[in-house]
């Protein structure tokens, strides 16, 4: 199974590559007023607004570095069973891939980690990252009806 490897601060994290739609350059984001901590903003992806969370902000409390290697991982987020929506995550050093089995990730404390030649590799558990406030914000993007009239069928 292929995993996308990135860093949050000094720690290396892995995300199933099958969930990734695209790895994008760190585009300019529009800030969302009143958004909960951890939100980086939103950007227009192929004409649709996509919310973006900053993994460094969520975990370390500081925004991600503005580097070429800091990228937006656009992934398929499943807020409800059967509903798949795009979600952007800003991650530092999103430059590598690793081939691992899901079974290699063993529970170490609260984390799921796998041994790796370069230190341990943690599996990113998105559900743990999303606070109720963040879920509410995402719900606005994913479940609010658009104001434009539906095209006549």
């Amino acid at each position: 199974m292929l995993f996308l490897v990135f860093q949050v601060g000094a720690d290396r994290f892995a995300l199933e590559a099958a969930r990734v739609i695209e790895v994008l350059a760190l585009v300019e984001l529009h800030k969302i007023a009143g958004a909960p901590v951890g939100t980086a903003g939103e950007f227009a992806y192929r004409g649709e607004p996509v919310p973006v969370l900053d993994l460094c902000l969520l975990t370390l409390g500081r925004p991600s570095n503005l580097r070429l290697s800091t990228r937006i991982i656009l992934l398929r987020h499943e807020p409800q069973p059967g509903v798949v929506k795009p979600l952007g995550l800003i991650a530092e050093h999103a430059t590598e891939l690793a081939n691992k089995n899901l079974g290699e990730f063993a529970a170490v404390g609260a984390a799921l980690a796998a041994p790796d030649p370069r230190g341990r590799l943690q599996l990113l558990q998105l559900d743990r990252l999303l606070t109720p406030e963040l879920r509410d914000l995402l719900a606005v993007y994913y479940f609010t009806q658009s104001l434009e009239p539906e095209p006549a069928a």
Partner: protein
């Protein structure tokens, strides 16, 4: 930035530096930039112990990690604006239809379902077989060490003349060798030109082909208009059946 590494003058102390014991890299704690490949690697005196394992510096994790550090640079001006604008655009809706590889043999434009396509490669020498001069089988070719039968689809379909019909093979033209695989059966055939994968919408009920349309009659599925040309989409079942008949 790479040129900076290359042109940097090295002191004697650098040259005497020992090779890195283990090719481990920690991005977060920035280590002093190493350019070991310049003095103990293949561009230096080649004394690095890791060379025995990796043969060349470009295979070494230390070198790869140094390359990765190029991405730690700040983004150039306009980089973010450019990407923001690029991603905001809606992509053109892919025109409905089935993907076909569109190619030309002689003067005839043909389409073949990309499910059967295995490879589009350069033309290469065809080794003819004794007593097989006139038929559809042109000979055998070497595709990465594997011998494949090379056939002339042009001759099979009755395309009169041109590159790929077997009469004249491309030399310096844009000729390509296609390798197709149908139910485990692999053959190669030369074509004059390849125009990439195109989405062609096949009519649900193809009109009966014209009586003098030899290509359609041989292995065609239906004819489709594409950029002002009439492309004959081939039926892979019919094509391979015809091939097998003529090779037998």
């Amino acid at each position: 930035m790479l040129s900076e590494f290359k042109t940097r003058r090295r002191s004697e102390a650098d040259v005497a530096a020992t090779p890195p014991a283990a090719p481990s890299v920690a991005f977060a704690a920035p280590k002093p930039m190493t350019d070991c490949w310049q003095h103990i690697g293949v561009w230096g005196n080649g004394s690095c112990g890791e060379l025995a394992a990796h043969l060349h510096c470009r295979n070494c994790p230390t070198y790869a990690a140094a390359a990765m550090r190029l991405l730690d640079a700040r983004s150039p001006a306009d980089y973010r604006q450019e990407w923001t604008a690029h991603l905001a655009e809606r992509t053109a809706v892919a025109d409905a239809g089935q993907p076909f590889l569109v190619f030309r043999i002689g003067d005839e434009w043909l389409g073949l379902d990309i499910g059967t396509m295995e490879e589009v490669g350069e033309t290469r020498p065809i080794h003819t077989l004794p007593h097989r001069r006139e038929g559809v089988l042109l000979g055998v070719i070497n595709v990465r060490g594997e011998l494949l039968a090379c056939v002339s689809v042009g001759r099979l379909l009755g395309i009169a003349k041109g590159v790929g019909t077997g009469t004249a093979l491309p030399e310096k033209s844009a000729g390509r060798m296609l390798v197709v695989n149908h139910a485990g059966e692999r053959v190669a055939f030369p074509v004059t030109e390849v125009r990439g994968v195109q989405h062609l919408a096949l009519p649900a009920e193809p009109p009966p082909p014209a009586l003098d349309d030899q290509v359609m009659g041989a292995a065609g599925r239906s004819r489709v208009e594409w950029r002002g040309r009439s492309v004959c989409c081939l039926d892979e079942d019919k094509l391979f059946a015809a091939l097998n008949r003529s090779l037998a």
